[in-house]
């Protein structure tokens, strides 16, 4: 499983790429592996406000529908419209073209609640042992 080192990760299995005060958000390799074949995704519209730990959309895979939980708080600036045409990139290219939303981050201190790649990898290993 791949967890690039230049990203931050939430315990709700999303990744964050920080560029200034803009956060790009997507789901992790662990999440897509657990979801299996992803069929549909529905994202909150641009200009919506999201809160860290609160939903920013819904995702459906073969057998489950589940909320997408935002790793940061702020307003959604862009949502990836390409996902509507080819949701399969969430399984195949999730750290690049499979990004979901960009958010203008209001409180950078919130990023302290996120994990680095190593910390997230350990968290996933622990989850597997429990689950």
């Amino acid at each position: 499983m791949s967890f690039p080192e230049d990203l931050l990760y939430s315990r709700d299995h999303t990744w964050v790429r920080i560029d200034g005060d803009i956060a790009t958000v997507g789901i992790t390799d662990y999440a897509q592996d657990k979801l299996d074949e992803i069929l549909s995704v529905e994202l909150f519209p641009v200009d919506s406000h999201v809160e860290q730990g609160e939903p920013f959309g819904v995702i459906e895979s073969l057998k489950v529908t589940t909320e997408l939980i935002s790793p940061v708080s702020g307003d959604i600036i862009t949502a990836n419209e390409d996902l509507a045409d080819d949701v399969g990139i969430l399984n195949s290219d999730l750290y690049d073209t499979g990004w979901m939303i960009t958010v203008e981050v209001r409180d950078v201190e919130e990023l302290d609640n996120l994990l680095d790649a190593e910390g997230y990898s350990d968290y996933v290993d622990e989850s597997e042992e429990i689950g």
């Binding site: 529905e42 959309g57 819904v58 489950v64 529908t65 909320e67």
Partner: protein, 275 residues
């Protein structure tokens, strides 16, 4: 031994059925509720749609309207089901309940194992699907046109279709166990590419409780046997209960604001706070 709540079989209309399931699911997310197993039927026929399905493209809405068949959108994903001659169950529990798993497929396996035990006691020899998705995609809008890992087969044919939603550490799984099956009615209500061919395929690939045991069986007996299956397999005690006042209030609110509305049932995608 863990105590669960069981809400006994009751026939409600389609909108109320979905409002009740979602109310139990949402209240459970707010605190420590016991896992809840509910059995229910449908006062009149209804098509339930998966969360992401397109009603206009996948359901014969005019046919349903003309024949008084409700169309209701589920909080869960998956494909459409024609309800009427089925026993529907729902199970709400926390993901971190020691009896279940954070793994979706494993949760299906555990629940299916309990239902298999109840069916066995009822004279139906059921088993789980071992492969991933199996289906030729010809009738993609219909739940029973394809099987998925850990779903239930009787005589090698699909007999129960299930779907799951997860949020805030809680899952809701509901499923439809066919008592009887009428492929003509399904192909009239749910859009298929070639109805004549599809009817024959469904005859060969879908079973039902009464077909399997070649006899009649009361819903009450079946519910009792399946509930006993959960108790035996998971070593839990089911205690008969009803909705809490909080769940009743939320049910009424969801019924009025969401499940009685065409906006939700026909258009769906009620993003933000609907989930």
């Amino acid at each position: 031994m863990d105590k669960w709540r069981i809400i006994p079989f009751e026939r409600c209309d389609s909108f109320e059925n979905m409002a009740i399931d979602e109310a139990i699911f949402r209240v459970n997310r707010q605190g420590e509720m016991p896992p809840t197993l509910r059995f229910y039927g449908w006062k009149k026929p209804a098509v339930s749609l998966g969360y992401f399905q397109n009603a206009e493209e996948e359901i014969n809405c005019e046919y349903c309207r003309d024949r008084g068949i409700d169309i209701v959108r589920r909080p869960t994903g998956g494909k459409a089901v024609l309800h009427g001659d089925d026993l529907t169950y729902s199970l709400v529990a926390r993901e971190d309940n020691q009896l279940f798993s954070s793994d979706v497929v494993e949760t299906y396996r555990i629940i299916s194992g309990c239902i298999i035990r109840g069916l066995e006691e009822s004279g139906v020899e059921a088993k789980m699907v071992e492969e991933g998705r199996v289906g030729d995609g010809s009738s993609e809008a219909f739940c029973f046109a394809a099987t998925y890992k850990n779903e239930l087969l009787a005589d090698g044919r699909k007999i129960c279709g299930s779907a799951q939603v997860r949020a805030r550490g809680v899952f809701l799984q509901h499923g439809s166990l066919l008592m009887d099956f009428d492929p003509l009615a399904v192909c009239a209500a749910i859009i298929t590419k070639n109805a004549a061919i599809e009817i024959e395929k469904l005859k060969a690939s879908v079973s039902s409780v009464r077909k399997s045991i070649r006899d009649n069986i009361g819903i009450d007996i079946l519910c009792r046997n399946i509930a006993a299956g959960f108790e035996e397999i998971l070593n839990v005690r089911l205690t008969e209960g009803k909705l809490s006042p909080e769940e009743e209030t939320l049910r009424d609110s969801l019924l009025e604001s969401k499940y009685s509305s065409d906006r939700w049932n026909m258009k769906g995608r009620g993003i933000k706070s609907e989930h």
